[in-house]
Amino acid sequence: MSEQNLLKTPLFALHVELGAKMVPFAGYEMPVQYPMGVKKEHEHTREAAGLFDVSHMGQLKLHGPQAASLLEQLVPVDIQDLPLGKQRYALFTNDQGGILDDLMVANFGDHLFVVVNAACKDQDIAHLRSHIGEQATIEVLDDRALLAIQGPKAAEVMARINPELARMVFMDAGVYELLGIECMVSRSGYTGEDGYEISVPAADAERFSRELLKHEEVAFIGLGARDSLRLESGLCLYGHDIDTTTSPVEASLLWAISKSRRQDGERAGGFPGAATILEQIRTKEVSRKRVGLKGEGRAPVREGTELVDADGKVIGQVTSGTFGPTAQVPVAMGYVATEYAAVGSEVFAMVRGKPLKMTVAAMPFVPQRYYRG
């Protein structure tokens, strides 16, 4: 895509004003970092409150009395019993049992609010329309910005704006008035920290952001730090750690498959690739698994790096990797042959021709600090 065709979020001018370095990402011109720099932005989010423009992501509403049961036909997740005012992580699967996208679904009562990845949104919308578009109304909210405020000070800041937000716990979702603007708010995020994601009308996004920036704890954070934050937190990045060739079982996302949709569940199967995925759950037989990897020293082990065993035989590949600014060790995730997937297994990453020892480690690499009440 040429630069002329890149889309801009409603906060583009503000990013430029703040000195952000803008880069193409998923068809948008997005801030990769601000003058603070990636490392300090990462640390700021872990210590105070980072503000993220994630307006490139797709925001949708699904309307209609059957919206929940219809969406269930596309995800291995319990949507019908998602309580009012709650949000849940879900996956669109394909007929081969691979992952088309990962998404968030919230029950707002008269509709479901869905957030999908920027790079997948056109395809996701087409997928929804072709499968359930006749029975449910799919409303694309392209007139709204999406902001995330993340970090240990996020709740304190937001409580100054509307004290009701303090009563939300992790994965609660609802409509709240913030600074006179009607917002869709969830207590969730992509950093492992406590915080909120806030959907704001595009026309109000800049004013809303400027108001948040008046709080000394708050600073805008770019995509660079967003990536190291989510990686330290063990969260997958679609297109890197998961894609159409990885099943949820291989991707170690079994936790995201609801009990009710598994074998012997109340609404077992009934999603694309169910036969493959349920069989993998039953037999526990997959040839590779997504694992966390911790390195030694300081050399980052990056996406695409081959993983080998002690004899030099290739046993996997890194899908995301960096030096963890908070973890203070090289952290990565990748796929390894199942026999190497146990925590504590030793593998070697081939970096510039040299084997660097890495240990399969439990994720998250940095403890998550979600607020659960």
Binding site: V32, G37, V38, K39, R298, A299, P300, F323
Partner: protein
């Protein structure tokens, strides 16, 4: 605007070179290079006593964003490396012409010194690349 000290020499791959009193040269990456890279998280230095040819890969600087090779601007033998970078790679950002130096060479072909860019030529190169 990045700093380009006038007493140093430069090459187009963004290394700087300082000739010491004992005839050795100290090498690092320029302020411009560290700005482009962003926060440095790891520096792979060459091994002491290895012989490097001019333009040969001598190490790697890794930032949060990317890995970038360091090239030896001159032919010579590595006489010392900056071991402080192992624990403090951020020195490359903080003090690229001082504490963030990377390695020292004893040049084996002094004629090569004549081919290096001066500060003015390097400044022009940086501007062209903008």
């Amino acid at each position: 605007m990045s700093q380009i000290p006038s007493e140093l020499k430069y090459v187009s791959t963004h290394e700087w070179i300082r000739t010491e009193d004992d005839g050795t040269v100290t090498i690092g990456i320029t302020d411009h290079a560290q700005e482009l890279l962003g926060d440095v998280v790891y520096v792979e230095v060459p091994e002491e006593e290895t012989s490097l040819a001019s333009g040969e890969e001598a190490g790697v600087v890794e930032s949060v964003k990317a890995a970038s090779d360091i090239y030896s601007p001159l032919s010579g033998d590595v006489v010392e490396v900056n071991t402080a970078l192992a624990d403090a790679p951020e020195l490359v950002n903080q003090d690229p012409y001082g504490a963030g130096w990377i390695f020292r060479l004893r040049p084996t072909d002094p004629d090569e010194l004549e081919d290096l860019m001066d500060a003015e030529a390097y400044a022009e190169l940086c501007e062209e690349e903008e």
